[in-house]
């Protein structure tokens, strides 16, 4: 209402431009207008202020501080001491455990990505049809995704106990029991099993909704073309799902790089350093060893990995719908 009044007044004045005594009034009007414009521009800043403050304080600043810290030696109590690239030297040249952590993280990620995608693909195609049993199986598979990784890890530690159920089952089939989490050759596999078991239902769900968005008539056309099931899977289903599959590849990789909970609960990075992963390394160096500089440097390495993946991720979002 007021804005229109102001505009009307302005118009009125425009017609009386030549009258000099109006000029000062016009200036006043403009000033008032300017003030209102500032006020009018304020709300979005006020509305975003708390959120922005939070992100700046708890995300942006800590990240910058971490990068800075990675060039210092610090135990959390005394003054920070500049060491240049010393911490990175420590990571890559002096101690071997960071390289182990890096390698383990990569092994874990590759394994989880591969098996999650594989099983999610198989299950989503297998449970595709709308039926009661299928939706039941979908739900049952999905539930672990809701549970804390901690809860799942605790249960699996028990199942994988040397006196646990898994070994009892193996024994039943006259297969010698495994040492699961207590053996450096099987510990990583065990951690991967848990991650895959927990994530499968969720990933299958994502693929299922992607499958449902593919027009049914394409599959019908394939049927009319006398396409054998396997050929249909490889030549039609997978290519049509490829955008979603690639998207999943990125998100699973992102999450796998951050693995911590299961390792902490099930193996504590052991036995030996067989399940030592990046975040566990950071955690240990910060919490136990009080070598914050080293932990920060390791954090920077993780940050770089995450950045690369995130850039790909956001590029992808724009190009989601390949076909149609």
């Amino acid at each position: 209402m007021r804005e229109t009044e102001v505009k009307a007044a302005e118009n009125l004045m425009d017609t009386n431009k030549n009258l000099p005594e109006r000029a000062s009034e016009k200036k006043k009007q403009r000033k008032r207008h300017f003030g209102r414009r500032i006020l009018g521009a304020l709300p979005p800043y006020i509305m975003t202020l708390p959120a922005m403050a939070s992100f700046l304080l708890f995300t942006i600043y800590p990240i910058l501080d971490m990068i800075l810290l990675s060039f210092y030696e610090w135990n959390g109590l005394t003054e920070r001491k500049w060491v240049g690239l010393g911490n990175y030297d420590y990571l890559f040249n002096i101690q071997i455990d960071f390289k182990i952590a890096l390698k383990n993280t990569l092994v874990y990620t590759v394994a989880v990505v591969f098996f999650l995608q594989l099983f999610a693909l198989i299950f989503s195609v297998w449970l595709q049809k709308d039926s009661r049993i299928n939706s039941f199986v979908q739900r049952v598979m999905f539930f672990p995704h809701l549970c804390a990784m901690l809860a799942v890890s605790v249960v699996f530690s028990w199942l994988m106990d040397e006196q646990g159920l898994f070994n009892a089952v193996l024994e039943f089939f006259h297969i010698p029991g495994l040492r699961w989490l207590n053996d450096s050759t099987t510990a990583m596999i065990s951690v991967v099993i848990v991650a895959v078991w927990k994530g499968i239902g969720y990933q299958a769900l994502l693929l299922l909704s992607a499958l449902k968005s593919i027009p049914a008539d394409i599959f019908e056309a394939a049927e009319l073309d006398n396409t054998p099931p396997l050929r249909k899977f490889f030549r039609i289903t997978i290519p049509l799902l490829s955008p979603q599959l690639f998207f999943m590849l990125i998100t699973i990789t992102l999450n796998s790089f951050k693995v911590f909970d299961s390792v902490r609960i099930m193996t504590n990075g052991g036995p030996g350093k067989s399940t030592l992963v990046l975040v566990y390394y950071i955690y240990e160096y910060a919490q136990a060893n009080l070598k914050y500089g080293v932990a920060a440097a390791a954090g920077v390495v993780l940050l770089i990995f995450l950045l690369i993946l995130t850039v790909i991720y956001f590029r992808l979002i724009g190009k989601r719908v390949h076909y149609q």
Partner: protein, 355 residues
């Protein structure tokens, strides 16, 4: 070659019956058009023939063979989908070739067939393109080529022209007719557009609520409809249907009405007043309110070559006896040939001789 027989077909989705005890025969080499409003079961019927939405019960014969438990790919049929359903990840050539590869056609033979079919639908220069680089009309041709290359006994088409613009649709229509004349294969074509049905079909199969209303050539279905539904579905504007005192109905087509300022010697004549007037070009469409006789205040549509009548003007609405259709209380047609007594009663009723 491609005769199709359906016997006692039932189809239910959950608890709803879509088709009940349906029987149908489509002759070899015929261009059969399944037509009806959306939800009438025509697409369901087509999908039963294709095998991608099998019947709940009943028998289906293609070329004399019972095929209802045969996979769609083994039925020697081809289908063109409404949205074309071409494989977006394959080139045009890949799309056409896919079915041949599945059927283990040798490479040299495949190349020959693809070249031939691409030539005939005008896709030769697009063979290496991906579908998303094609126009709607071109995609339609890919779908057609993919069907043709299999040399099937039966072509099934599910509203294949509905996604094209009006001009292209008319052009494709005549191309399809030509294609049918050339191939002489059975075509089963589904559409909701009665004009499309009339212009393309050898046989029209008109469906309503899962029941076949009439199966006949376009001429017969227009001139000799079986029931009120058929009479009103075919032809625009639809047939005028008016109730008679004896519980029957009389009907006449707007284009068979003589609209004159003076009374003539026609069998059926009533006074009417022009309510609206629509100039269509060669003809003019009038909405007329009847102002005399037992149908007073009813409105009828009249299509006339005479564009001279104005809104508000009075005129005579007149129809010859041979252009009048009578229907009984169940909306079934009363023909003079087989229900002479009922026919006579209706004629007398219309004349006002008997109540």
């Amino acid at each position: 070659m491609g005769e199709i027989i359906l016997k006692n077909i039932n189809k239910t989705f959950g608890n709803t019956k879509v088709l009940e005890d349906l029987n149908l025969k489509i002759n070899d080499g015929e261009f059969a058009v399944l037509v009806g409003a959306s939800g009438c079961g025509k697409t369901t019927l087509l999908r039963i023939i294709a095998g991608i939405g099998p019947a709940t019960s009943g028998e289906l014969f293609i070329d004399g063979e019972e095929v209802s438990d045969l996979a769609p790919g083994k039925r020697n049929i081809a289908m063109v989908f409404q949205n074309y359903a071409i494989y977006p990840n394959m080139t045009v050539k890949g799309n056409i070739e896919f079915g041949l590869k599945n059927n283990h056609v040798p490479k040299a033979e495949r190349e020959r067939l693809i070249a031939e079919v691409a030539e005939s639908v005008g896709l030769t220069e697009y063979l290496k393109r991906k579908p998303n680089a094609l126009s709607g009309g071109q995609r339609q041709r890919v779908a057609l080529a993919r069907a043709m290359v299999k040399n099937p006994k039966v072509f099934l088409m599910d509203e294949p022209l509905s996604n094209l613009d009006a001009k292209l649709r008319v052009a494709m229509r005549s191309e399809l007719i030509e294609l049918h004349n050339k191939l002489k294969t059975t075509f089963v074509y589904v559409t909701h557009d009665q004009v499309e049905a009339m212009s393309m079909a050898d046989t029209i199969i008109l469906m309503n609520k899962g029941v076949i209303q009439q199966q006949a050539s376009p001429e017969v279905i227009y001139d000799d409809p079986n029931n009120v539904f058929t009479a009103q579905f075919i032809g625009t504007p639809s047939m005028n249907i008016l109730p008679l005192k004896n519980g029957s109905f009389v009907g006449y087509r707007p284009e068979k009405v003589g609209l004159t300022p003076e009374e003539t010697e026609a069998f059926y004549k009533v006074r009417g007043r022009i309510i609206t007037r629509e100039m269509l070009g060669s003809e003019t469409l009038y909405k007329v309110q009847i102002i005399s006789g037992e149908h007073q205040n009813e409105t009828v549509m009249v299509k006339s070559l005479d564009s001279g009548f104005q809104e508000g003007q009075d005129a005579w609405v007149q129809v010859a006896l041979k252009h009048l259709y009578f229907f009984d209380g169940k909306e079934q047609r009363i023909r003079e040939a087989d229900r002479a007594e009922d026919y006579g009663a209706c004629v007398r009723c219309l004349k006002g001789e008997e109540a």
